[in-house]
């Protein structure tokens, strides 16, 4: 997949807002593979909605979203599953980890589906992100910042053309934020993928190709 094209896209809840000022909504926007994008937004501007629309979990929008020119509304369940396994990875703002599983198991549950990374590679990431000692602890016992890092690793153990990161570093300090963006960008470059990062203020310091204001 090489492009994600937003064609006059607008969340239905915003239909009653005629004076909407946005670089994304009701515009023609094209995200290209290989580029890095930042979407800056205030609360309630539809940032997480955009991620849900792109990942296909919600359809309550006007206009179209096109993957390589193909309308996402026409995708079958099977095609969505394949896309989520091989083409788009989403780092959820609310993380969506499984609290009863350990940190490692949360990553394995994804990797066992894709068989994309070796245990050693995953272990290296845990170490680099400073949470290797927490690998076997239930994820519910970890802090949000630690969980954010686990979620990042889970988002990376799959092939993707686009990585969507919904406020990836909201609970991390500068140092860890830097480590996380290094790891993320290394994997993104390896895969030649595009990155779309959303942020409500604090964001990774990256050479963005384009910055949108939502």
């Amino acid at each position: 997949m090489n492009t994600i094209h937003l064609d006059n896209t607008l969340p239905k809840v915003f239909l009653s807002k005629p004076d909407l000022q946005s670089d994304i909504w009701r515009r023609q926007v094209c995200f290209e593979k290989g580029n890095t994008y930042l979407i800056e937004a205030g609360s309630g501007t539809g940032k997480s909605s955009l991620c849900s629309f792109i990942i296909g979990s919600r359809q309550d929008f006007e206009g179209k979203i096109l993957f390589d020119g193909k309308d996402t509304r026409r995708l079958s369940t099977k095609e969505w599953s394949k896309l989520r396994q091989n083409n788009i990875s989403l780092l959820f703002q609310e993380l969506r980890l499984f609290p009863e599983l350990t940190a490692m198991e949360n990553v394995e549950i994804k990797n066992s589906l894709t068989h994309f990374k070796s245990n050693q590679e995953i272990l290296n990431w845990f170490e680099a992100l400073g949470i290797a000692d927490k690998m076997t602890s239930p994820v519910r016992l970890m802090s949000f910042g630690q969980q954010q890092r686990v979620a990042m690793i889970r988002a990376l153990v799959q092939p993707f053309d686009f990585l969507l990161a919904d406020e990836p570093v909201s609970h991390l300090d500068e140092k860890n934020s830097q480590i996380m963006s290094d790891i993320m960008m290394e994997e993104v470059r390896r895969q030649g993928a595009g990155v779309i990062i959303t942020s409500i203020g604090k964001h990774m310091a990256l050479p963005y190709n384009k910055v949108f204001s939502l």
């Binding site: 919600r58 369940t77 989520r84 396994q85 989403l90 994804k110 894709t114």
Partner: protein, 398 residues
Amino acid sequence: MKLIWKLLRRHISLPQFAGFSLANLFGMLVVMLSLQFYNDVKPLFSEDDGLIRPDFLVLNKRVSALNSMGLGSSGTFTEKELNDLKAQTFTKRVGTFTASQYKVSCSMGIEGLAQFGTEMFFESVPDDFVDVDLSKWHFNEGEDYVPIIIPKTYLSIYNFGFAQSQNLPKISEGIVGMVEMTISMRGNGLHEYIKGRVVGFSTRLNTILVPESFIRWSNERYAPDSDNEPSRIILEVHNPADDSIVDYINEKGYDMEDDKLDSGRMMFFLKLISGIVMLVGMFISLLSFYILMLSIYLLVEKNTEKIRTLLLIGYSPAKVALPYQVLTIGMNATVLLLATLGLSLLRSLYMLNLSTVFPQMNQGSILSATMFGVMLFLLVSLLNITIIRHRINQIWKN
């Protein structure tokens, strides 16, 4: 799969599943047991002696004092009466009894022992009314051997009446079948002998039966001039419990041989009762199925968020549904296994009692009831699989 299972088995309620399993086991057992019991007991009620099928009735005209004195009607059935009977809605087929019109006597004995003999008679019904292997039941002109079917009561009279009081050994059906009889036939100036052997015992027909071809040949040979209007007829009906049969027979003044209709009615009640019990069993199974589906729905409901996350990170609905499907199939299979075990256990208990009362009962098998159980299992599992998948698809679509 292991991790998915670890994730999705949360909130499994053991009491709910135990409740389902017990209810399902009970329902399944009732269904299978009623079917099995019906199969086991059917031969006793239907008096199916393996020779004459149960839906046959034997009719004759009532014998009155006038008949005895040679007055009144002849006691035989006319062509018109037969046609009328054939036209009735309850009738499937009508066959006539043909009696031997010459003198018959029979003697038998085992070498070295005194022979004994008796005057007797033969009758025949059309061969397709006799349910015996046709290779055993035939006679061709020129053969010196004829197969015979005698009433079971003859043997009982000997064994339990005569032999008992005279301290003679009882004889079994098998031994009678091995004894060769010498039959003498006289008439039309001829006196000839032929060998005979008993090939079966009938509890349904009170007569000494030989193949129709034999009667035809022998009547022609020994009594060529006799008229041959039947005095008894055999009737195959659609449903022996049909009331219109009794009405018709009473109206025409015919007699029916002993309890044929009773056994028909017994059969009908056996079917009815087994049917009702089976329905109750099915109903219990249905309820247990409902419990299972509710439990699964509840389980899926409690795990909805997790399932949604799994779907969002790339799991297909089929993969997410699989653990629940395996769970239900596993439970259904366990129930089927236990029900089959329970069935064979309960059956061995009642068979022990039944075979004391009815020693002739054959052992049969639990194959058909088990097959029915397997079919029920397949049906229920298929429904389970479909419903679970449907539920997961609903979560996919929100």
